[in-house]
Amino acid sequence: MTFEPRITAFVCNWCTYAGADLTGTSRLSYAPNIRIVKLPCTGRIDPLFVLKAFEGGADAVLISGCHPGDCHYASGNYHARRRWSLFRKLLAFTGIDENRVFFSWVSAAEGQKFANLVNKVTEQVRAAGPFGERNLARRRL
């Protein structure tokens, strides 16, 4: 059986969620490996949400929100950007590298970009293989 990556996505309500809606209304297709968890804003995403996703066995996590300057809440995405720019390096330093955590800005108008993004991420994770044993954050009890 081929490896089907499990990708958990945390997206903001106003841009990326709407962008993903547009992908749907435009009937663009993409890999069915992604599961979206909707939050009001990327600023809401706690670093622990990402660890929780890995704890539950996700092969990768995608975080996506509004482009800089477009945040519905004015600056949530800027807060998120600073937080993730450091946290992703800490993750990489502890062994969870850039094949496992992805970041993107997708606006409500970028349906095609969302489809491409999901496809690219899915491909990259598929190539990287199952996280499984290498996943330090995986629940083992």
């Binding site: 660890l51 062994g95 330090l136």
Partner: protein, 271 residues
Amino acid sequence: MSGAIGAMRADAAKLLSEGAVKLVLGYCVRGNERYPCFISEAAQAEALDFDQSCRQNLAAYLRKPEVRGRAPLAVVSSPAVCRSLLVLSSESQIRENEVRALAIGPKGYGGILGLGALGAWLKADYPDLVPEQALLDRVAELSAKTAQERAKFWMKEFEKCTRCYACRAACPGCYCERCIVEKNMPQWISSAAAGHGNYAWEVIRAFHQAGRCTGCGACEAACPQGLPLMLLNARLSQDAFEEFGSRPGYELEAKPLIGSWSAEDDGSFIR
């Protein structure tokens, strides 16, 4: 150094005898070890000592109600402790009239300094407190390895953690009333001393110090299991400095690194 220590003892005695402070937090020597000690009478000031082996960060005591209840306090403060005091001040944990520093470091004794004066002392004598080169070399060495090798390294290290939280106790930045490891509904971080819980604890503990860690090394020194916690802290401090110019603990009032932003922040990692 002995002159510096004498001056520091004299100042401590003076503050106590004048009633300017009720308690002096300092270090004493017992055998080969350096331990925190608490002086409440001028006559005891002779017990105070200081050298580079004093790794405990006395600023951590400022979260103890038993200690805070005896304010005004004076704290024997190495440069790292001074920085911690400033971080605590910028996070509204301590106030000017509550705590004074008996500032002392490799370049000598800086006198009795209020929080407002610490920044100037640090900037003059210790403007570039960065992690030691040996530590940075270890960080670089580990960073140069593959993700898989790093994962293996940390899995082995984190496995040792017993979750005694000595690191948390030793760190002045860990002053939360309720630590996230104590948060349930939902269980925020698994409390079992195993795999994912240990990983989440170590990583989140380090991340909570992003832009706040002053590099004192007390956490690593306190860890009974010898975990290389400073590797995490140093790497984060390095990233925070390189990306955002973060130098915590040099200003009395500073915006938190995580919790502020700039339109110029790096976004190249975002697709």
